[in-house]
């Protein structure tokens, strides 16, 4: 049908085009052709054609062209009649027909569920009435669309403002309610909003609001288009004396005030209608009445309407025409069920006839009449002038706000009526000219309301003409401003005007301007719930102004809230959320969410409220008070819901997901949590040698690969019964403390379904899901059978901004697959936060040693739980350590295990001992046993150097027994010591998946300084291979008292002897706190045991019988420092623990290739009241000082002490003999240089000083020792210096070295050579013959090449005094 119409129109156009040759129609045709396929544009063009075609031909050509130019300028050609505004105007500004009817008529109609007006209303709208109209101009045109409105006379009055407001409010509220269920769904997205059509973005109440607003303003006295054009008098055929009833009906008392108070002409077109109800019987009586009426009134004005033809009332109408008029009707109610199709047709015809034959002609006639009057009184120059002059005269008289009162007979009212009628009959040109004519009058009269009304109409008429847009807008603005000036009395008018203006702007795509108008409407009035719809304009504008959109949404939401329209407020705020989401405007975002949450809560929709409140919980940027407010309100709302909330990704507290660690054990067991926190690398390097090499092919997992499904291959392995520690950091982002709750431990309850404990009150707990199958690792088809939830509850009180590391342990009890799913925590007893780990990469500590390859993150938290018969965690390891030297043991309580190995990170401090020591009393076990070869202890020595201690093969620990093993501890240096110990063991009768275990232990010790021991060594000038040395000991402790025990030298056959009994130096034998001691000893090469001094008990003891041993020979010489009568045994520094420690000390104190000697100084600490568990056990302290170096070359000068010579004869030649010994293992070349005394006198002193390498100020405490034999022992350089000086002062030394000034010789290892030297003395005196130097150079020994850093040296000569006397 549509297409047919189109074709018709098309043909029509073609004809027209051919006949008139109108150029402007060309594009139109093209468009209608092109668009013919799609329906919607088609309709647009159709109506355009329909509307315009009669006029296009009649308009002057120039107008058409101008209009077309304008539209091309704008780029859009829209027919004003088809815009929303145009449609609304055509609908609302239509003639009004007043209906007066008797109650019986109503009664008949009500049988159908309709009032009389309702029954007729659907038939008052004509789309194709096709009536020729001729108004003021000579040329007639045809009117196609026409509509009139029916109103009861009682309704024709201005509605009460308050009632109107109330009604508007109700409308808005109702729409809010209707719309609300939909908006509790997901939040809208900005992109969705942008793609939506305008009508969807508009507030849903907007259309209703518009209509209601127009209706509220109807029947005002200053606008004529609501004034009834005609009057329909209706009487029922049942009425008695119908003729009189007709007359009675048009009783002036009952007429609306408009007609009575003279605002409009009471003489209007009357039409008489007799309604006959067919149910009352045949229509004969009615026909009779009709003829009677026709005789009484004008025959054309009388008509008969027969209704209710259907007797049974079963008529059903498809799509009832009344639906829009009775929207409140129930669905079950069938409207018009007594009306047959004939009745409807009759009504239709009646109304058509009424409009085409009566109303339109009447209006035409009236227009012509009025036009004539107006032209005669107002048109033309003379009239205008007269009018102006007349109005000026009236100016002062009237000063009311509404201006003068205009009755219907006044020319102003008549012009207005003329304009309105012309508008309604769509003669817009006439309407505009009339309006313009009157607007100046009203302006001059200061009738502002009327003026505004007229301006408004001018704007609308221009709009309908689609002409001079600027003018139209100017008029609208003018009208709007005028209304505004008039204040609140006409605020609805202003609002309506504004809305029309906005519609006009929207039609022309001036959306931004529209928005400002909206804002002005809102800013000016608070009319009911006003139209704060400006926000959508910002959205519609191109490009969309989202920021303003958001802002205005918030504003309007706020306004809604003020007007108690909470649901609308929520709706706008929700839209605002979509604007602010994803931005960093947190302050605004939080505020929006907070208010939505509050409002939802006030509506009782707590669930939704909570979701919004959740958004603002972690707002760390907010002030403290806001945070408190947010949290309090949130908890309050949650409390009101009365149920538990489980929230995924709860923001409070914040989880630092990168901190997630799963610490688990497969091969390893940690003895203490502290050990678990040590870096894996430390352990790995320790275990390197112990763990059987797990090559890629042969590890136990691959062996099991047949059993383990592929998908679990990546999983980690843990042992049933062993805890997995999951560590994770929680942070309180707020400035306020979060405090909550009490902890509760819970058991693991296997159940056949997912299972939650609802009674839990804990604040934070972790949940892990464990899935198991019935038979161990074999997880193929059975799938997940059982879920187990593990809870671990902890309670925290967080300060603001604090971070807490939580460690949760999970202990799987059965075999299967264990997956750590996530963490769950509870905030304030009703909010449960849930965080799944899955998607996040996990920073994890893995156990697998080097075998670990890269894992996919999700596999990281997956474990295969295997069963070990007895859990290794049952092992009880303890190491008792005494702070200073010595031993203790490991205590093991475990199942059968064998092949034990142990490795200690720092053997300098801790050493494994021999089992035999367990049964021996300490420290007696270390004492020397004469001539007893101790082979067992030192058999380990070599292995110990490799740091792996193998327990003897035969050791295997049975279940429930303990194994003790001694360990020696030697605190070598003060400070903090970290000891790492790993024990490797294999288990018997354990599943082959896990062959071995390692136990990791970690101890931290602090060692306090005890004694400070230092040695000073200097060669003895008179003997070969003899040294004097001094030992300085300082007690550095604060309170301890040490008993000195012994000094042993370890080295090449050295023999230590005291120069002086200890009693004389230290009678008490004890060193008290802070006390210092210096002892002097002599060191010489021992020869045989028989030659030993009586205090030396043991000379040397050869330790290792293995010839290839690269260690220096263990030779020992001891000095007892105790009281002479004491028979206490000396300790054997060459046997197991001491010797081992000594080796390490040598290693750590560095190597020197020079001849050296090591000293071990042993003291004991005896404490009367010892608090430790081992009372009265003396502590042994051994201080190892290694590599006390001395020159490998030693020599002495031999010659006469005193000679007598007669100098008068000749200078005296003295023969001297120098014996040089090479004590090193390398051949050396020695070079003796001699100097002449005068030049080298002072130098030699310095050189002597520097030779000893000691700073001079260190010499306090040394004193001259009286010579015990013929050797003049001069030990101090200071002394030597003094003597040298005195000598040089007393005498003028005059001697020279004779012979070559330098002598070179080679010395074989451990060889002695004698060199003759000669001096020539010229005068008697005492001479110091120390002015020579020995340069020695060791030939490098091959094996010690690397460390041969000091293979040469120069020694100054020793003082040697020669007295030469003048012989007489």
């Amino acid at each position: 049908m549509v297409i047919v119409t189109t074709k018709k129109a098309h043909n029509f156009f073609l004809r027209r085009h051919l006949t008139t040759g109108h150029p402007n129609l060309e594009p139109l045709l093209c468009t209608s052709n092109r668009k013919i396929r799609s329906k919607k544009p088609l309709a647009v063009h159709l109506s355009y054609i329909r509307f315009n075609q009669p006029r296009a031909s009649e308009k002057p050509l120039s107008t058409c062209i101008r209009a077309s130019d304008q539209s091309e300028e704008r780029g859009v050609m829209v027919d004003p009649a088809n815009t929303p505004l145009g449609k609304m105007l055509l609908e609302e500004i239509t003639p009004v027909v007043m209906v007066l009817c008797t109650p019986l008529v109503e009664e008949s109609c009500l049988k159908n569920g309709l009032s009389f007006v309702q029954m007729l209303s659907p038939f008052c709208d004509f789309t194709n009435i096709d009536v020729p109209v001729q108004t003021a101009s000579d040329q007639p045109y045809r009117l196609h669309k026409f509509k009139f409105r029916l109103f009861y006379a009682s309704d024709i009055r201005q509605p009460n403002l308050e009632v109107a407001k109330e009604r508007l409010k109700q409308v808005i509220t109702k729409v809010g309610e209707d719309d609300f269920p939909e908006i509790s769904s997901d939040l809208p997205q900005v992109n969705d909003l942008l793609s939506r059509h305008e009508s969807e973005i508009l507030p849903p109440w907007f259309q209703f609001f518009n209509k209601e607003l127009v209706r509220t303003l109807s029947f005002s006295d200053h606008e004529a288009f609501d004034h009834p054009v005609a009057c329909l008098l209706v009487v029922s055929s049942r009425d008695e004396e119908p003729i009189n009833r007709f007359i009675d009906l048009f009783n002036t008392n009952k007429l609306p005030s408009l007609l009575n108070d003279g605002a409009m002409d009471p003489k209007i077109l009357k039409h008489y209608l007799l309604v006959h109800d067919n149910q009352d019987g045949a229509s004969a009586k009615a026909t009779k009445l009709l003829t009677e009426m026709r005789s009484t009134f004008r025959p054309n004005d009388c008509q008969l309407l027969c209704i209710n033809s259907s007797q049974d009332g079963q008529t059903r109408h498809k799509d009832t025409p009344w639906a829009t008029f009775r929207s409140d009707a129930l669905a079950t109610e069938h409207l018009g069920h007594f009306l047959k199709l004939d009745d409807l047709n009759e009504i239709k015809n009646l109304m058509q006839e009424l409009s085409s034959k009566h109303i339109i002609p009447y209006m035409e006639q009236k227009i012509r009449l009025l036009n004539q009057q107006v032209s005669s009184t107002r048109k033309g120059f003379r009239n205008q002038f007269k009018n102006l002059w007349w109005r000026k005269g009236k100016e002062d008289a009237l000063d009311t706000t509404n201006g003068p009162v205009y009755t219907f007979s006044s020319i102003e009212s008549q012009i207005r009526v003329l304009g309105d009628y012309a508008f309604m009959l769509r003669d817009y040109e006439l309407a505009v000219s009339s309006y313009r004519l009157i607007s100046t009058d009203y302006k001059l009269d200061k009738a502002w309301k009327r003026y505004a009304g007229v301006q408004e109409m001018i704007g609308l008429t221009y709009f309908m003409l689609d002409q001079s847009r600027k003018e139209a807008e100017y008029c609208m603005e003018n009208a709007f401003n005028t209304y505004l000036k008039l204040g609140s009395a006409v605020q609805q008018n202003a609002t309506r005007c504004g809305l029309w203006w906005i519609e006009m702007q929207k039609t022309r795509n001036q959306i931004k301007e529209a928005a400002t108008v909206y804002f002005r409407i809102c800013g000016s009035f608070t009319f009911g719930c006003d139209a704060r719809a400006s926000f959508f304009c910002y959205l519609l504008s191109k490009p969309p102004m989202l920021h303003k959109y958001g802002f205005h949404l918030v504003l309007s939401g706020d306004h809604y809230k003020k007007c108690d329209q909470i649901k609308h407020a929520i709706r706008t705020y929700r839209n605002a959320v979509s604007v602010y989401r994803g931005t960093t405007w947190n302050l605004i975002k939080d505020c929006v969410h907070f208010h939505i949450g509050q409002w939802y809560a006030s509506l009782g929709m707590y669930d939704v409220a909570v979701t919004h409140m959740l958004e603002i919980l972690a707002s760390s940027h907010q002030s403290k008070t806001s945070q408190e407010l947010f949290l309090r309100d949130f908890l309050h709302i949650v409390q009101k819901t009365g149920k538990m909330f489980e929230v995924l990704k709860l923001q409070l507290p914040v989880i630092n997901i990168s901190s997630l660690k799963a610490i688990f054990e497969d091969h390893r067991t940690y003895a203490s949590p502290a050990a678990a926190s040590i870096k894996e690398g430390v352990w790995r390097s320790l275990e390197e040698d112990m763990i059987p090499s797990l090559s890629a092919k042969s590890n136990w997992l691959d062996v099991q690969s047949k059993l383990i499904p592929r998908k679990y291959k990546e999983s980690n392995i843990c042992v049933a019964g062993e805890a997995i520690i999951v560590g994770i950091e929680f942070k309180n982002p707020l400035q306020i403390p979060i405090s909550i709750l009490k902890a509760n431990s819970s058991n693991v309850k296997p159940q056949n379904d997912e299972y939650k404990t609802s009674t839990s009150t804990g604040f934070l707990y972790i949940i892990l899901v464990l899935c198991t199958t019935s038979n161990g690792v074999c997880i193929t088809t059975a799938g997940i059978l059982i879920h187990l939830w593990f809870y671990r509850r902890l309670t925290f009180h967080w300060k603001g901004g604090e971070t807490i590391l939580v460690q949760l342990t999970v202990t799987p009890r059965v075999e299967g697959i264990l997956t750590i799913v996530g963490v769950k925590w509870k905030l304030s007893s009703s909010v449960v936060g849930l965080h799944n780990f899955e998607s996040n990469s996990v920073n994890k500590r893995i156990a697998k040693g080097r075998r670990k390859a890269k894992h996919s993150p999700s596999a990281d938290l997956k474990f295969i739980v295997i069963k070990v018969h007895v859990s290794p965690t049952n092992l009880l390891f303890a190491v008792f350590i005494n702070i200073f030297l010595l031993c203790n043991c490991i205590l093991l309580v475990l199942f059968t295990m064998n092949n034990l190995k142990m490795k200690i990170s720092n053997p300098r401090f801790l050493n494994a001992g021999n089992q035999s020591y367990l049964n021996v009393e300490f420290p007696a076990c270390l004492e020397k046993k004469l001539n007893v070869e101790q082979s067992g202890g030192h058999a380990n020595a070599k292995k110990m150097l490799q740091n792996v201690f193998h327990f003897p093969e035969d050791i295997s620990v049975q279940e429930e027994t303990s194994l003790s093993w001694p360990l020696w501890f030697h605190a070598a240096v003060p400070g903090h010591i970290s000891l790492y110990i790993t024990v490797y063991y294999e288990m018997e009768n354990v599943s082959s998946i896990m062959k071995f275990h390692t136990l990791r232990m970690h101890y931290n010790l602090q060692v306090l300084p005890s004694l400070d021991v230092s040695f000073e060594l200097s060669p003895c000038p008179s003997r070969l291979e003899e040294f004097l040395f001094r030992m300085d000991v300082v007690n550095k402790t604060s309170s301890e008292c040490f008993q000195i025990h012994q000094l042993s030298s370890v080295g090449q056959r050295w023999d230590v002897s005291l120069l002086q009994p200890v009693d004389s130096i230290l009678p008490s034998q004890s060193l008290f706190a802070g006390q210092a001691l210096s002892c002097f000893f002599m060191l010489k090469v021992g020869t045989t045991i028989e030659e030993l001094a009586p205090w030396i008990i043991h000379l040397y003891h050869r330790k290792s019988s293995t010839s290839e041993d690269s260690n220096p020979l263990f030779l020992q010489s001891d000095v007892r420092l105790g009281p002479p009568g004491n028979s206490e045994a000396l300790f054997d520094v060459c046997s197991s623990p001491l010797a081992d420690f000594h080796d390490y000390e040598r290693l750590y104190q560095g190597m020197s290739c020079q001849g050296n000697v090591d000293f071990v100084f042993i003291t004991q600490l005896r404490r009367g009241n010892i608090d430790s568990g081992v009372p009265h056990r003396p502590l042994l302290f051994s201080h190892h000082v290694c590599h006390c170096s001395f020159s490998p070359i030693s020599w002495f000068l031999d010659g006469p002490q005193t000679i007598q010579h007669n100098f008068s004869a000749s200078p005296c030649g003295v023969n001297l003999k120098m014996t040089i010994n090479n004590s090193s293992d390398a051949a050396s070349s020695v070079h003796i240089k001699t100097f002449d005394p005068p030049s080298s006198n002072s130098q030699s002193i310095d050189a002597t000083a520097s030779q000893s390498g000691l700073p001079l100020e260190n010499q306090a405490g040394w004193f001259s020792i009286p010579a015990v034999n013929d050797t003049k022992v001069i030990t101090t350089d200071a002394l030597a210096k003094r003597i040298t000086k005195s000598v040089s002062l007393e005498s003028a030394p005059q001697f020279i070295w004779t012979g070559s000034s330098s002598t070179k010789l080679k010395l074989q290892p451990r060889a002695t050579a004698e060199i003759p030297l000669q001096i020539c003395v010229f005068a008697p005196g005492i001479y110091d013959l120390s002015n020579y130097a020995l340069c020695w150079n060791l030939a490098p020994i091959e094996e010690s090449q690397g460390e041969a850093n000091k293979s040469s040296g120069e020694c100054r000569g020793y003082p040697y005094y020669l007295t030469v006397l003048q012989s007489t």
């Binding site: 989202l546 920021h547 303003k548 802002f551 504003l555 960093t584 405007w585 605004i588 505020c591 208010h595």
Partner: protein
């Protein structure tokens, strides 16, 4: 707290010319907002600054055709609200500076001068190697400097 105060307009001390300055990143993310009022109107000022971004975008997308304004960073008066005037400035890196003032007759030169100094301060702040681009400016030195500039703005225009 409630938004109703936005339209009501809080009382602002007369002598404070500038009520708010803001730095907004090129993705329209706030980098720095500082208000210089005693009233609790941070939310309102946030809204005002946020809204002005639309105008900035509009100015940027529809530049005036005339030549000298091609490289002009100063955007001029963005929009007047009931109580405020909002000025804008756009750097070459599309960072926006917004100035909200209560002074209703500000000289253009003053505002330009202000923005130039503000820009210098901003450049110094982001040149800090510890500043992460695109993150909020937390430098206290910057804040001090800005408040100095703001105060001197009041002084210079008062003279």
């Amino acid at each position: 707290m409630f938004l109703s105060e936005i339209t009501a307009g809080a009382k602002i001390r007369e002598e404070e010319m500038i009520v708010c300055v803001a730095v907004v990143g090129h993705q329209n993310n706030p980098l720095y907002i500082q208000s210089f009022t005693d009233a609790d109107d941070a939310l309102k000022l946030h809204h005002i600054v946020h809204c002005s971004l639309d105008v900035v975008d509009e100015r940027v997308n529809n530049p005036k055709k005339s030549g000298p304004t091609l490289n002009e960073t100063f955007l001029g008066l963005l929009y007047p609200t009931e109580n405020y005037k909002v000025y804008g400035y756009l750097t070459n890196t599309k960072v926006k500076f917004i100035l909200v003032t209560t002074d209703l007759d500000v000289r253009d030169g003053d505002v330009r001068n202000f923005f130039r100094r503000f820009h210098a301060a901003y450049v110094d702040a982001v040149s800090n190697p510890f500043h992460v681009p695109g993150k909020k400016i937390t430098s206290r030195t910057f804040a001090d400097r800005v408040s100095t500039i703001v105060q001197s703005f009041g002084l210079s225009s008062a003279v």
